[in-house]
Structure formats: structure tokens, C-alpha cells
Amino acid sequence: MSFAQAFPGDPSVDATLAAAHKLTRDEYARVVSVLGRVPTYAELGVVSVMWSEHCSYKSSRVHLGRLPTTGPRVIQGPGENAGVVDIGDGFAAVFKMESHNHPSFIEPFQGAATGVGGILRDVFTMGARPIANLDSLRFGRPEHPRTAALLRGVVAGVGGYGNCVGVPTVGGELFFDRAYDGNILVNAFTCGVVRTDRIFYGRASGVGNPIMYVGAKTGRDGIHGATMASDEFTAAGPSQRPTVQVGDPFTEKLLIEACLEIFAEDLLIGIQDMGAAGLTSSSVEMAARAGSGLELDLDAVPRRARGLQPYEMLLSESQERMLLVCKPGKEPRVREICEKWELDVAVIGRVTDTGRWVVLATPDYDPLAAAPVARAPIVVCDLPVGFLADDAPKYDRPQGDDPSLPARHAFDPAQIPEPASFSDELLRMVGSPNLGSRRWVYRQYDSIVRGGTLARPGGDAAIVRVPCTTEAGTIDKWLAFTSDCNGRLCELDPYQGGAMAVAEVCRNLVCVGAEPVGLSDCLNFGSPERPHVMRQLARAIDGIAAACRALAVPIVSGNVSLYNETDGRAILPTPTIAGVGQLADVRHATTAGFPDAGLVVVLLGTREAVAGPLGGSEYVAAHTGEVKGLPPTLDLEHEVLLQRLLLDCIRSEPRLVLSAHDVSDGGLAVALAECASNESVAVKDIGAELELPPSKVSLAEQLFGEAPTRVIVTVLPSDFEQLARLAEAVGLVAHRLGISGGARLVLRAGGSACIDVAVEALAAHRRACLDALVGEA
């Protein structure tokens, strides 16, 4: 039995107040029974955020255990601030993807900006220098009245933050579907690099060690960001409680530099970012991982708002703050470094061995007051660490089938009338918001700061040089980054969709010459309290797990975002996968565009899946406005063989494959158009004269079907036979489509041209794809 006192002005705590904090009746009863008393108002707030879906993963934890998270390169899997994967020579990649969906819908610029800030902190808190960002974005249909403003705000916010902190944003996704009309998705990814002997963890150990607060001052920002409880029970009025946090990338940049200096001098036991549920979750998690206890003195917390109550200080989500546990005697040096970078710093507590999380504060004490009252702290929280963290509720929620699926699967895309001109159809497709050039977006991101970007945004994956320096010298490493998820395929078949997201990420990495080394997942779904959403989540996880196992690539970090719905309408299930690959040699770097005229253009894939079914495709969505039809399925065995063959052919000496591009959204014709019209002013666009492989399915399906496990490559004419033999030997097929060259993309089927368009027209349509939405680029 512990003891904690109410603070002057606290509302009285009862089941009704607990319900307003989104604790269920049973959960609240458990709190009272374990504590042996009614919790204080501050304790109630703390328990509610720690047990929120966001912090506790209470609906998803039972399923997440099925993901493969280990492997020979894995140094740290899920459970820490970010995952860590060995990249050799004593260095590791540290990375994670995280959602910031709800805040971005309320205030797109700041929501997206603070999302980037949060994921950066998760990565550099482990000792790593951030070297690349990705941003995976999903919006409602382009014609929805809010879409344009949300898109502009989010893209400017991502850029505004990433550009200022000086971390290149090298890629991501942009996708529109009506399912996101009321709930956009902003998933931010950061990768950093660290020496393997200098990885820092979020652990608070060593009795008596000082706990230091570093960074921006605490205000009333985003209180209840983690639970989104109503304002009516708070002491101050709603206008005083901005739920939107404002990001300060300048302070973040200083925080990065200060922390990296502190890491280099080995002054810390542990460190953790104050993210969701701020001081509370960061301190509880650090104590939980170390099996220790903590005592925090809120009087010492740097603040910028007057009259902050313990409840507010504990739950504030003010940005750009870190919690450090210092090595004994190192506190003065940490202080010195923070002061050099003009950051607030304060000792706000000590590590204990009690296993309890104890918080002290003086009633009415306010250091900002003209004449602060004398300090006489009382205990405002005294809770067992384990009770808050590991003993949080865990639910295996009921699952059920999506009742709408059978009718949607039954839709036959052949009902869509054949376009009068496939040339015009292709121009329309490549110029559509979902398939055209993303340059309006990525040009707003500094993709080349730090001078290491070898492959910029616009290709299958970005490549960044990472100089790894030790006492012995510098070795350049080359990492590749990409992210993917097709929510439409996930909706029609969550298992297949999840597996395909993993397969496509890995395929994209292989297409640029990299070997996939690790993945992060960001699972965006609707309400877990609805059985069919729960089934989507469970099945998607199974699909992801199966593909990870087949491709031998682990999930090392991730995030779950549930309750993504508005007015009872859930988003498309969107398990975004971000992948990190490594190039064994920079000479393996491969681009998507046709590199020269006179090369043989080859469709590398399986014998069966030359063309894909149209179910769930962009083509069907464009013509019907709906997500329906039988979606393609993934043959994991062939997928593995394809990726292995492609990587071998890129790595061979001399190099066999000269360019490679994944066939995905929009199908074969769109992929070929992308090969013919690249995104760089430095490279010339080159057309091709091609013949589709023989097929019995409709032309629309051949051109725009979205079957996976297909890659377009080019080889020297003299090398084609060799590629064909290598493919044949592993049960794959190298379909010879034709020869690159000229200023037109010509596609023939059975001898007659079905598509004949100028490369210049393709490029112009691709460039203009967002004009209607955001004005001319």
C-alpha cells in the first residue's frame, strides 16, 4: 500500500472521472484494488495514458508477437526506442517508422512537423546520427474539399522540420483514396547510424544516479495527446490547453548536436525521448526496462507556462525534450555541453531500487512566480513501475469477417468498357494523382543535405552514403531506403496485402542494388473494437510475418495506430512497411530509367503472372471509384527467387542487369512509362519499341493489372540469352519485350500497336499529375 496526496485544486477521483479518461470500469477497479486506495488525480492521468492504446498496445500486443524480429544482423528488435541492425565494420543502422495521423489532420503543418521531430528523437536517443527520413502520406480523394490544404500543410510541415534539422528526406509515398477523407495518414521514418559499441538504451539503472531533463521548457502542449480525453475535467479552460504541439526544429537540431556530443564522451547510463505522454511514459519506460524505481521532483522541471499542476507536467507533450540518466559524477559535464548549445537542463530526480515510480511536487510552487512559495514537496504519485508498464491490460479482441467482401470480390473488371484508346488511357493513368511524378512533394524536401545522397527521391529506393569513422579511418557504407503499402489490396485481402507490402519494399531495395537488412512497420487501422478491423490487423500481421520469413528479413521496430476512422468509417487497412537495404558496393547502385538506347528491355517474372488481375487496382478505382474485384496473390517462393536472381545479376562482374524497375501500382504499362520518363534534368528520357508477352487475358489486364513479382530490367543485347538461361534455371522467365531507344514508347500486342505515345507527352503528363490539386509545379 502506497501513499500519495491530492494537490490543491485537484478534482475528486471516481469511476466517472476514470471513464472520462477512457479507462474501462474493469481497468479502474484494477487500479483501485492494486493500489489499495483511490488514485490521485495525477495518478489517474498517468495510468490512463500508460494504459492507452497508444502507449500500451493493449489490442495489438497479442498479435505483434507473431512477427519475426530476430536475425543474424539484429542487434535490437522491437521494445526499445528504435530497432538496430548491424551494417558491418562496427556500425549499425538504427531506424523506426511512426504515425502522427490524428495531429496532422487537426493541424497539418505542425502535426506533420512534430511527427518528424518525434521519430528523429527516437533514433538519435539511441546514440545514432540521423542520416535519412522517409514520409509515407495518405490523403482523401483529390476532389475532397480538405485534401488540397491537408496535402500542402503536411508536405510543408515535413519539409519545414526535416530541412531545418538537416536530415535529408529521401523518399516516401503519396496516395489518395476516399477512405482517408476523414482520417489522413502521416507515417514518418528516420534512420540513423551508430557505432555498435556506442549504442544507448532507454534504461534507468544505478541507484542514486541523477535523472536530467534536457531540451525545451514544459508547457501545456498536447496534454492528453495519448488519450484524447475531453477537456472538461481539466482545471484550466480549453483555450489554455492547446492539444496541438508546435515543433521547433531549431531546438531539435541543437538537441541532436548536444546529445551526440554527450554520447561521444560516454557520460550516460540511459536516455529517452519524451514523446507521447511526455515525462510520464519516458520515465516509466526507462525504469521498467531497468527493473529499477524512480523518484521525480517536479519542482525542478523547466517550464514556460505559469501555474502548472503535477497532472499537467506529467502529461504535457511539449516537444524537443529528453530524459537522461547520468553516470555518477558526469552531471557537470552534461550540464556544460547543454549550456554550450543553449538548452535548458535540470536534475529532476534520482534512480531508486524500490520498483516504484514516485513523484513529488510542492503545492502552489511556481518558479515563474514573482515570489515563489517555499518548497515543501508532497508525494503526488506513488505507483509500482511494473503496474504501469508490463502489467498494462492486454486484450484478445473478437475478430470477424468483413461482410462486404464477398460482393466486392465478385466484381468482374471485364465489366469496365475497354478504353477507346489505350495510348490516351496510359497518358491519363500516368497523369493521375496516384501514379504521376511525386516531384511537387519531394522538391519541398531537402533530399541532399549532408552531401551523401546518391539516389534522390523518384526512384524505386533512395541511396545514401554513410561515412563510418573510427580511430582506424573512414569506411563509406551505402544504405537504401523505401516504404510501401497498398491499402486497397490490404482491404480486399489483408493477409496478401501485408505480405505484398513487405515483398514490394524488399523488391524496391533490390532494384537499386541493395540487400534488404531490416524493416519497420507502422500499422494503421480502424477501431479494434470492431471485429472485422481486428481481423484485418491480425491477418495483415500474419501476411507480413510470412513474407518476412520467406525473404529472411526481420521487423526490428514499429508502431501501431488504431482508431483511424471518422463517423464509423475506417480507413483502408494500411500496414506501412519501411525498409533499409545495404549495397555491398557503390558500383551496384542501379536506377529505374532506360539508361541508353539499343538495350534489350526485359520483363523478369514468373511464367504465370505475366499480367495481373485488375481487382483492387488503380485502373478499377479510376473507372468505378471503388475498391473491388479479386486482388492478385503473392507467390512467396517465386518472389524470393526473383529478388535473389535480380541481386545476383546486378552484382555480377561484369554487371548483367543495367537498370531495374519494380512493376506495381498501375501495372506494366505505367511501369514502362516510368522507365521512359525519368525525373532528373541530368538524364535524357529514352523510349522503347516493345511487344507484350503472349497472353489470353484482356488488354486492360495485361497493361494495368497489378500482379506482384515482376521487374523491368535492361541488358545488353549480347547478354539477353544469359539472363534468360539464369532465369529459366530457377523457374523464372525473362520475357524479352523489345529494344530501348527513340522518342516514343510503343507497345504492341499480337503485332499491332496498342500504345504509341511520345516520351515527352508521358513526362509532361506525369509532371502535371498534381496540378489540379495544388496548381502548377
Binding site: 531549431f250 519541398q444 531537402d446 552531401g451 534534368v681
Partner: protein, 244 residues
């Protein structure tokens, strides 16, 4: 030749500037903190890198003028020492008054990162041949050069407009101007001997093959030639030392 890269809180293109100077060009390079009050002895080139000094709050480059190192940079420049300001560095040089004019928000109001083409319009320590076209990346939200008509006439008359935004063939017109810059100006010379160059595009991000080109390296090559050509024995001695 010896260089100093000045670091302000919020500088973020220091990595590529230092790498280009040290590793690509082989120039011994010191890093100077903005609170320092002196440059290392024998500094010949002061490079102000890109970034968001002091968060670019208030105005880009405005708060950097309060940094103690600015006095030393001013003295170095007044003596004819070389100063290169790239992007935020250019903005700082205009804010402290070492170069005329100001950099305003891009006409289209967006941050813009992409390769553009530049026509060389003045000869000087960093530029050898008028008319030469370079491909360099830009990455800025506030790069629209602005000055009063009299200053513009003076810059033009004195041949101090170093670079204009152009098409790949060197044609300068509005459609090649990425930010609405006055008279398509991308960079200008200043100082008693054109020893100060400020430009928005990033030569240090186009100095290695991985960047997709080496047009930016040409500026540094030319500077080295200029310095070698000047009859400064101490420089020659130092070059010999470095080479050995």
C-alpha cells in the same frame, strides 16, 4: 591555402562543405564556432555553409549577425580575404552587410530542392570564364534576390553579378528562374577585390561523382588556381607542405 568553415547553431550543410574542402579539394580546413572571436591564423578562405542558423527565425541569417565571429569575418573580408557564403551563408552575408541586397521568400512560397542551371556572368576568384553553364542543386525557401535599382545597376556595371539562373544552353529567362529572383540573380561578388562570393545554389553538393556531377567543384578549383596565381609566397609554401 587554408580554409575555415564557420558553424552557427542551426548550420546544417557544414558536413558537405567540410568534406568538399578537405577531402575533395585537399584544403586544410578548420571549423570555427560562432562564439569564437578570431579566425585561425593564416585563414585564406572563410566558408559560411548552408542551413538554418538560429532556426532562420525573424529573417534568414538575421540573428547570426549578433554572433561574435562576425567581426573577425568582416576584418578578413575587408583585408581582401576570400569569403564564400552558400545558401544560408549568402543570406548571412547580406544581413551583416558584406554583400548588398536581401534574399526574400521564393515567389511560389515553397521550399525548392532540385538541380538548376547557372550561367557564369562575371569573372572573379571563383569563376574563370563568363558564359560557362553549371548544373548545381538549390535547396531553399528564401532565395529570391532583391535589391534597389541603383544597387542593381552598380552590380551590373561593375560586373559583380556572378551567376544567373539559366537553361541548360545558357539562355536566361523567367522560365529558368526557380524563385523569382531579381534579374535572375543567383550569386554576386562583393568585397574590395571580388573576394566575397555569395550564392544560393550549393557547389559543395555537386562536387563528387555520387552527387551526379562535379560542376560545383569547378568553383573551388578556380579559387585554388587564383590563389596559386597570386604572388603570395606563404600560400605556395603551404601548398607545397600539404602536397608532401
Amino acid at each position: 591555402m587554408r580554409a575555415a568553415v564557420v558553424l552557427f547553431p542551426g548550420s546544417n550543410s557544414d558536413v558537405e562543405m567540410i568534406r568538399t574542402l578537405r577531402e575533395v579539394m585537399g584544403i586544410p580546413t578548420d571549423v570555427v564556432w560562432h562564439r569564437d572571436t578570431a579566425l585561425p591564423p593564416d585563414t585564406e578562405l572563410v566558408a559560411l555553409p548552408g542551413g538554418f542558423s538560429f532556426g532562420d527565425y525573424l529573417r534568414c541569417g538575421a540573428i547570426a549577425r549578433t554572433s561574435p565571429i562576425i567581426g573577425a569575418i568582416r576584418r578578413h573580408a575587408d583585408r581582401g580575404g576570400y569569403v564564400l557564403g552558400v545558401c544560408n551563408g549568402f543570406q548571412i552575408l547580406t544581413e551583416v552587410g558584406l554583400l548588398p541586397g536581401a534574399l526574400l521568400r521564393n515567389e511560389h512560397l515553397r521550399f525548392e530542392c532540385r538541380d538548376i542551371f547557372l550561367r557564369t556572368d562575371a569573372e572573379g576568384p571563383f569563376t574563370e570564364r563568363r558564359g560557362a553553364v553549371l548544373r548545381l542543386p538549390i535547396a531553399h525557401a528564401e532565395g529570391r534576390y532583391h535589391t534597389d535599382p541603383a544597387t542593381l545597376r552598380r552590380l551590373e556595371a561593375e560586373g559583380r553579378i556572378a551567376f544567373r539562373y539559366a537553361h541548360a544552353d545558357g539562355l536566361v529567362n523567367a522560365s529558368a528562374n526557380p524563385n523569382g529572383s531579381l534579374d535572375s540573380i543567383a550569386g554576386i561578388y562583393g568585397g574590395p577585390a571580388r573576394n566575397i562570393l555569395g550564392l544560393m545554389p550549393h557547389p559543395e553538393r555537386m562536387s563528387e561523382r555520387l552527387h551526379g556531377g562535379v560542376d560545383g567543384k569547378a568553383l573551388f578549383d578556380t579559387l585554388l588556381k587564383t590563389v596559386a596565381g597570386s604572388s603570395n609566397p606563404s600560400t605556395e609554401e603551404r601548398r607545397a607542405q600539404v602536397a608532401s
